[in-house]
Symmetry: C2
Subunit: 207 residues, 2 copies
Amino acid sequence: MLLCDIGNTRMHFYSGNEILHFTHNEGLEHFKNEKVYFISVNQEITNKIKKLSLKWIEVKDENFLKTSYKGLGIDRIAACLGIENGVVIDAGSAITVDVVEDGKHLGGWIWPGIKAQLKCYTNISERLTVSLNSLVDVSKLPQNTTEAVSFGIFAPIACLVKTFAQNRKVVLTGGDAKILSSLFPDAEVDEEIVFKGMKKMIKESGC
Amino acid sequence: MLLCDIGNTRMHFYSGNEILHFTHNEGLEHFKNEKVYFISVNQEITNKIKKLSLKWIEVKDENFLKTSYKGLGIDRIAACLGIENGVVIDAGSAITVDVVEDGKHLGGWIWPGIKAQLKCYTNISERLTVSLNSLVDVSKLPQNTTEAVSFGIFAPIACLVKTFAQNRKVVLTGGDAKILSSLFPDAEVDEEIVFKGMKKMIKESGC
């Protein structure tokens, strides 16, 4: 069974072994003749898939996830279905953080992704263009611009996830998961969590 | 004495009463015949002032501020000189946070300003274009996109400033100072703090 998670900027495919990453156009071209189960947060690409009459099947939200959150992205729903208890940090174009307790989603928030944040600093001033230091000590006050920008990006993640995780396990996924793993020594990096959730959705919906 | 703080996107003038805000070109035109003491983080505008042979006098860093920080912006130096003890949050095009203890700068960090952060969310996805809620409860997990984005912007400020402020007073300045004041009920909003520091620098340097 070929699964696909369509994000804002890329497509991620999973067949049970490795995860393959493509641009939208590359992914559509590469798997145009396959049967693909997909979730999408990108309406433009979803429309394109429908227009192309591919054998792709959209896996939609059927209220599988218990939550009070209005408008939770389907990728976040899938990621939350992938765990029973814990905090999921999905670090891609955006960084989403979601808290799950006994299978119930308690809420979560959104940050721009690391690449987008760095661009945001550069847009303000060329002086803020730095080589990111993911090993910056977020418990100490920065002493130069590289530290100040790196701290600005990483310290909020450390501070807020620790506040809301309490004693729950932290699961990291998405393209920047490994960069963030130094902030959470006990965290698990699980690149398949969204696909685990998708499988549950497919099984329960019978689609 | 007319003082001017030249930022990345605007100029801020102070004559002892109110603070006037101008674009760079407007400010240069409006005060071209005046004697203006200025600090600048914008080298392009500094060069332009020199080229125009105005009666403007640059107030430079003369190591007035005790700090181990390398490359601290002159506006942050001035703001830190404006207090003896406390945390200064200067919320403009960028948000800078600096900690001062007994007149010594202990370090600090940088975030993109609120407007830049909002644009950053919009660039990722139109779905992340929201009306910012500065009164979002940063102690609770967000339950919709507006809360998730507002929390993403404000919760880091609350979480990290509280961590590093400890029992120091918090002083807010810059164009978005009032927006941030709901995060810190005991904070002081002081739009003149940079100019207070500038006056000290002018007095001590005798320029």
